[in-house]
Amino acid sequence: STVVLVFEAPLSFEFKVGAGQKVKVGEVLGDVKEDVK
């Protein structure tokens, strides 16, 4: 079984995982870099 996520995000969004990496529920997949003003 597979779960696919498709989502819109700002260009500053970055995945924090690598292909083939094992993940568990609640672990970081990605985050949006906040602009530092």
Binding site: S1, T2, V3, V4, L5, V6, F7, E8, A9, P10, L11, F13, F15, K16, V17, G18, A19, G20, Q21, K22, V23, K24, V25, G26, E27, V28, L29, G30, D31, V32
Partner: protein, 442 residues
């Protein structure tokens, strides 16, 4: 032509190339009309080529999208197998009640083979799991899956197969193989089926203990929640809607004697359920920055805002993994599209060989919005796990028995909306980490 060969071309003393050149120059060209049958055959051949080697997804006579099976011969052999029936048989066999004495040994052996961590499961008494299917759909203890503080977290235990940015509305299945996003999520057109409104009882917001804790914590920390609620409701003062935080359960609900946990509703106060639910909706909306206007935007991935991009990530759940999935972010699910397709294996082996794998397989596309725009989550079934459950959608039926001839073609879907879950938000609000459903054997 049938003209006689010119004399210059017949001269054997001349080199061959000169004779050929002379024949070419001296032979006059005469045009004849082709017989009608030849022209018709040519048109048939062109049409056949267009239909069979052109688009991977096309519309049938009823306007339904049909996806072609493409891949090496092994794929076509698999496609000829009655995978859905095999999946149902597999599910039936795994639902058979096992002898109590065998359960601990059998489940330990399964865990050893597939790498399950028995320390994490909620009910550690293995005799309480009646069947392998029951064990497969096990719950985990509270707290063993902490939710990270990032904007997007993993919805499931598994392996990240692929991720990236979507370009030209095509998603990369593996390197070099793509499939159409429209075919994957479905597109609305005049021939699309009308949506069914799914009635979601308000109390279903409270069926998850983790969710309860998160909501209460958020509520306690966000001072402006009544103000947000007032704005969303369009009312001025919300003094009459002062929220009293619900009592959180003081102890972990104990499993029932059957080994399956029943929803803990002992903490619910009927007089507070409506306002608590409104507060919950508002909490999610507040976190997401949702405005009513957002609801008017279509739930498709094609209208991306400027400065944004569409991204995707694929997580593969191996047989031993925890098979429930959770909300990867705070979002609102507005609709679901159930695609009745095939049930190919979705293992990395197949993903590399079968084009359109995720478009061909049975799946439930949950579409909605999060703080950054469109958000979609699609659990895709497979041969051994053909049944997909969504906790808040009891009307959903997956891996149903369809006679081969009446089987809907891949690409067709039935649609339901969750607007009844929260009229304020136009969908079912979910907190990050909240359990949403899962995959069952068969």
């Amino acid at each position: 032509t049938t003209n006689p060969i010119p004399e210059s071309a017949k001269d054997k003393s001349r080199p061959l190339y000169q004779r050929l050149s002379a024949a070419w120059k001296d032979t006059p060209t005469k045009w004849y009309p082709l017989p009608l049958a030849v022209g018709a055959l040519l048109l048939v051949a062109i049409d056949y080529r267009k239909n069979h080697t052109g688009k991977e997804v096309h519309l049938d006579e009823h306007g339904n999208e049909v996806v072609k099976l493409k891949g090496p011969w092994q794929v076509h052999v698999l496609g000829a197998l009655p995978l859905r029936n095999l999946s149902r048989l597999w599910g039936y066999l795994n639902s058979l009640e096992l002898p109590v004495w065998f359960r601990p040994f059998g489940f330990r052996l399964y865990s050893y083979i597939f790498g399950c961590n028995l320390d994490e499961i909620e009910n550690t008494d293995l005799t309480q799991y009646k069947s392998l299917g029951d064990f497969f759909y096990r719950r985990l203890k509270d707290g063993v899956r902490p939710i990270a503080d990032s904007v997007l977290v993993s919805p499931a235990d598994g392996k990240v197969l692929h991720f990236g940015t979507i370009s030209d509305l095509h998603v990369e299945q593996v390197k070099g193989i793509t499939y159409s996003l429209d075919a994957f999520l479905g597109v609305e057109n005049p021939s699309s089926p009308s949506s069914t409104v799914i009635e979601i009882p308000k109390t279903e917001h409270h069926d998850n203990k983790n969710h309860e804790v998160v909501t209460d914590e958020e509520f306690a920390n966000v001072n402006g929640i009544q103000y947000s609620l007032g704005n969303l409701l369009g009312s001025g003062s919300t003094k009459s809607q002062q929220h009293q935080p619900r009592k959180t359960p003081t102890s972990t609900p104990s499993p029932s004697s059957s080994g399956t946990q029943t929803p803990d509703q002992t903490h619910l106060d009927p007089s507070q359920s409506v306002q608590d639910n409104l507060a919950h909706d508002a909490t999610v909306a507040y976190e997401m920055g949702v405005r009513p206007a957002l609801r008017r935007r279509s739930t498709s991935g094609s209208d991306v805002q400027e400065g944004h991009a569409l991204n995707f990530v694929v997580i593969y759940l191996a047989p031993g993994d925890y098979h429930r999935f959770h909300s990867p972010t705070a979002w609102i699910v507005q609709k679901r599209r159930h695609f009745v397709g095939e049930l190919f294996s979705v293992s990395p082996y197949m993903a590399k060989r079968l084009q359109n794998l995720f478009v061909l397989n049975e799946r439930v596309a949950l579409l909605g919005r999060w703080k950054h725009g469109f958000f979609g989550m699609v659990p895709v079934g497979a041969t051994n796990v053909g049944s997909i459950k969504i906790n808040f959608d009891s009307a959903l039926r997956t891996n149903e028995l369809h006679p081969r001839r009446s089987h809907p073609p891949p690409g067709t879907y039935t649609e339901a909306t969750y607007s009844s879950a929260s009229p304020i938000l136009g969908g079912k609000p979910l907190n990050k980490g909240e359990e949403m459903g899962g995959f069952c054997l068969g």
